[in-house]
Symmetry: C2
Subunit: 256 residues, 2 copies
């Protein structure tokens, strides 16, 4: 049997340490092709590049692995990977990350890491976004490696219909402190913004986004709860944003 | 009673004709403040600007209306509007658009117009993204004006808990051909990409995103069906991307 084809991408850029871990683990499970941004793309959400051409260059940074760096967003990387690099060969799994920093809760909508995975799921590809709750460049990915591999194996083994996009977040803990995997819903939390205001060298004002992540969701079935309690959170996620519960309550608008 | 505060934004940029229509209609219903991008931001999805400062400049382009142009993405505009321009005054409604071009179905995740509206909904603000199925700069917004106003009035009048984000798409039809409003789910359709390949003046290859929107969803309860049948589609949407149906099917991963 031929090895499954695994696409690896991220949003921190192709030289980030986190993607190296995914490439290494994916290579144990299948044939790996990497298409990742040539520069950091955090916070790019589901942005795509419409008004400019994209560049794609061979990157010889993972020994024995076909890798390309792309000038676009994480979502652009997935589109280019599927249609240009892989010429529509069937992709068994797309993994994105491991992100340096958590993408739990509402962060899924801002995250380039998760948006890349979501783009793969739109294309009917099993996909997983992985994030470690540690923003530092030299974050220690060693404790989470067996868990990341396990989740990839599980995803490759199961039928792809349900929950084919997984948002996986890993707490920053030593191996013996990681308590296992929890299947969760997305916590109803958000950022409370605060803009740093200043003046540039020519005296013009600027505003720089900053903020604090605030969780008022007390549920013990959420990804934020799981992370705070030593578990790796797995949230099955989707790109159908219809609020089905609200459909019937809006019927009176049709005759308003 | 004081007039409701209505925030107007878009992704086509503050000088696009579509936003002018929203400003005019919103001014009939409340106090309007505009914060919109200073350049076209189509396809920006939920991108936010993290690594660069943002600029905000007064724009005197809507007579009698406070307006600001922002160097960032549509989502940045909403964050700046709420926290800097409006200093956390309660916003009764955020309207985004009217986009030149449809944002039905999967386009909600790529669209800056809808991402701006979604950002407002994350902030617990009633919000509506409006899009007309006509990409041209001189699209005719006249036929849809009474409908856009009606949907804004309805949204301002109802309690805000359910379906507080609406994705509204309007077919390109004469006033007497518009058949009314349909409450819909998001069609399960997607883009089939195709990259235009070429070489730049220095001989380097480039790839330019193009594609075709393909809908295999035959349901008559979808936004794409409504548009094709002369109706204005209204899809209640949300930012909780949890795939609740898949939660139980993944329980075996916890012990895998």
């Amino acid at each position: 049997m031929s090895k499954p084809l695994i696409l690896v991408t991220n949003d921190d850029g192709i030289v980030a340490p986190g993607i190296r871990v995914l490439v290494e683990l994916a290579a144990e499970l299948g044939e790996v092709v990497v298409v990742a941004p040539d520069s950091p793309q955090s916070g790019q959400g589901h942005a795509i590049t419409i008004h400019d051409p994209l560049r794609l260059k061979k990157a010889n940074i993972f020994p024995g692995i076909e890798a390309w760096e792309c000038s676009g967003t994480p979502v652009d990387c997935v589109k280019l990977a599927k249609h240009v690099v892989l010429k529509d060969r069937p992709i068994a799994l797309c993994v994105s990350g491991i992100n340096h920093g958590t993408n739990a809760s509402i962060n899924i909508i801002y995250s380039g890491t998760l948006s890349a995975a979501m783009e793969a799921s739109v294309e009917n590809i099993r996909s997983i976004g992985f994030s470690l709750d540690d923003f530092s460049f030299d974050a220690d990915f060693k404790p989470c490696k067996p868990w990341v591999r396990k989740i990839m194996e599980y995803t490759l083994a199961r039928p792809f219909e349900h929950g084919n996009l997984l948002n996986v977040n890993i707490p920053k803990l030593a191996a013996d402190k990681l308590r296992g995997i929890r299947i969760c819903r997305q916590a109803d939390a958000r950022w409370v913004e605060n803009f740093m205001e200043g003046h540039d060298p020519s005296g013009q004002p600027y505003y720089w986004l900053t903020g604090e992540f605030v969780n008022h969701d007390k549920g013990e079935d959420t990804d934020v709860w799981a992370l705070h309690n030593g578990f790796i959170s797995v949230v099955p996620s989707m790109h159908d944003l219809t609020n089905y519960k609200a459909l019937s309550s809006l019927n009176d608008l049709e005759s308003y």
